[in-house]
């Protein structure tokens, strides 16, 4: 405890004025400078402060990983291989994307880092960045990593309120960084519906009996013209009766009887009482014609129930609806084809219901 406090005081003394140094970033920068100036001891001192539980300032995950990485690199230069590997592993366990630039680090450091990778198994997926993707010509890139050779399954699944849909993007042996492109389609060839998605990376080490998973989430939205609704199926009120009903046949008879009755009423009751009935024989002749016509109509309609004109008209209406729906579907397909996918990173499955 006393040693730690002393180290902190020493670090503060070395780093300069307190106002500028009391942050992790400043200390890491100082450590990087010391490392690049091959002042390994000073670099180690600063880096150990960052990872020390006694360090009073906030340390982000990235800063901690950076500190472990440079600790490993510094210890490797000092010939402390086991310790270097331990720190490299600590960095890899926290961020499987951790890597050493061969142009910056020595072969010894790279070798120890490679050893750390073999001893550590972790998979990770890089968070999806905001982007707009035209699925006709572009792809959604995902970056995943496995620290060493592993059987990797990368699957995209809907989460939240969406109906479960998914597609496997990768399933094979992989090692290190891997870029996986997604064309925006599901397994059935349709565009993935808008909503929240999870990219799940499952890795099974081929060197060790270790398994690891990683997830990242993103929202998918469409940017396209609204789609048109197709016309609903023709209801009973929109189609003509294709057969004569008994009620219709009776209605025809009633119409004819109505004409007959009207003729009699006109001649017998609407004429002048002083002048007398107007041609009652004529009105009865018409009434007779109407009654006979109504009777023939009733018999005919009951014997010939098919209404070919109505059947043809219904077929025409159905064909017209079909043609209009085909046109709507065609226009919708064109709009769907022009859909732009809007990708945005998300925090998780979603808010609780």
């Amino acid at each position: 405890m006393r040693r730690s406090t002393l180290g902190l005081a020493l670090a503060a003394l070395i780093a300069g004025p307190a106002t500028a140094q009391n942050s992790t970033a400043e200390l890491l920068q100082q450590a990087h400078q010391s490392y690049e100036q091959v002042d390994i001891e000073r670099a180690l001192l600063l880096l150990r402060q960052v990872v020390s539980p006694s360090w009073p300032f906030e340390v982000t995950a990235e800063q901690r990983v950076d500190a472990y990485k440079y600790l490993g690199a510094a210890l490797a230069l000092r010939g402390q291989g086991d310790s270097a590997v331990l720190y490299f592993r600590a960095a890899l366990e926290r961020d499987a994307f951790t890597d050493l630039d061969p142009a910056t680090f020595t072969p010894v450091q790279l070798g120890m880092f490679a050893q750390a990778r073999r001893l550590t198994f972790a998979v990770a997926a890089r968070p999806v960045a905001d982007r707009r993707v035209d699925p006709r010509t572009e792809r959604v890139p995902f970056t995943v990593v496995a620290t060493h050779s592993a059987t990797l399954d990368v699957r995209l699944s809907s989460v939240g309120v969406l109906a479960p849909v998914g597609v496997t993007l990768f399933s094979a042996v992989s090692e290190g960084l891997r870029e996986i492109d997604w064309n925006g389609l599901l397994a059935d060839g349709r565009l993935a519906p808008p909503g929240r998605y999870e990219l799940l990376v499952v890795g099974q080490s081929r060197l060790r009996s270790t398994r690891d998973t990683a997830r990242t989430y993103f929202d998918l939205a469409y940017d396209r013209e609204p789609l048109e609704d197709t016309l609903p199926a023709l209801g009973p009120g929109q189609l003509l009766s294709e057969q004569v009903t008994d009620a219709a046949a009776r209605a025809d008879l009633l119409k004819a009887l109505g004409v007959a009755a009207a003729a009699v009423v006109i001649s017998d009751h609407l004429t002048s009482r002083d002048l007398g009935r107007g041609m009652p024989s004529a009105s009865r002749a018409l009434a007779g014609v109407a009654v006979v016509t109504g009777g023939i109509s009733l018999v005919y309609r009951r014997r010939h129930r098919d209404l070919p004109e109505n059947v043809a008209e219904n077929a025409r209406r159905r064909a017209e609806r079909l043609a209009r729906n085909d046109a709507i579907l065609r226009r919708n397909q064109e709009r769907i084809a022009r859909t732009v996918l809007v990708i945005a990173p998300a925090a998780g499955i979603g808010s609780p219901p």
């Binding site: 004819a256 004409v259 006109i266 609407l270 002048s272 107007g278 041609m279 016509t293 109509s297």
Partner: protein, 205 residues
């Protein structure tokens, strides 16, 4: 090339024969006349809704009561019709009818506002027809304007391809105002058989 407007203009030619009965009570008793009348009608369908019709008729009425004089009747009328839906139409028109006897000639000039309903049956092959008209203006030489003047009729029409045959019973009534304790009444009944032929495509207006 036929334009759409031209395609809608159709002509229907019709001929009719009617049995007509005229009853007149000039205040001294009922006189009755009857006889045939024939004529023709041409209808121009101006558009899907509008139509113009001209009708001419000529007949000879024989006196059926003692002391009556036979008379000839001639008629010319024109009217415009507008369809309101598939089963209803309204009309407005004018007509001139002349009764001629050996002694005198009586001219009837009328304006009429009418309505006609058609109810199809037997799948549209037939139509029940009902019509009526109010005659707001009836000018008869030597007589006052009638207090009441209307016409009403009913019938059946059969569609036969481009043609149609119809039979209609109709009644016209005229009640003239009372004068010197007497009132003149007239009534025309007719049973008309009419055949029509459409020249061009389309429905009967």
């Amino acid at each position: 090339m036929t334009t759409p407007a031209a395609a809608q203009r159709r002509i229907e030619a019709a001929a009719f024969v009617a049995a007509v009965e005229l009853r007149v009570d000039p205040g001294s008793g009922v006189e009755r006349f009857s006889g045939p009348m024939i004529g023709g009608e041409a209808t121009l369908q101006v558009s899907g809704r509008w139509a113009l019709a001209v009708r001419v008729g000529d007949g000879s009425l024989t006196a059926r009561t003692p002391g009556g004089l036979n008379r000839d009747v001639g008629e010319l009328s024109a009217e415009g019709r507008v369809r309101a839906g598939t089963e209803l139409s309204f009309s407005a028109g004018a007509s001139r009818r002349v009764y001629s006897t050996e002694l005198a000639r009586q001219r009837w000039n009328t304006l009429q506002l009418g309505v006609e309903g058609r109810l199809p049956f037997l799948g549209g092959a037939m139509q029940a027809v009902a019509r009526g008209a109010f005659l707001p203006v009836v000018a008869v030489n030597g007589l006052d304007h009638p207090k009441t003047a209307y016409t009403i009729g009913t019938g059946i029409e059969y569609q036969l391809g481009q043609g149609a045959i119809g039979i209609v019973y109709s009644l016209e009534r005229y009640n003239f105002p009372a004068k010197a304790m007497t009132q003149r009444l007239e009534q025309v009944s007719a049973l008309t058989v009419r055949g029509a032929l459409r020249l061009g495509r389309g429905r009967t207006p």
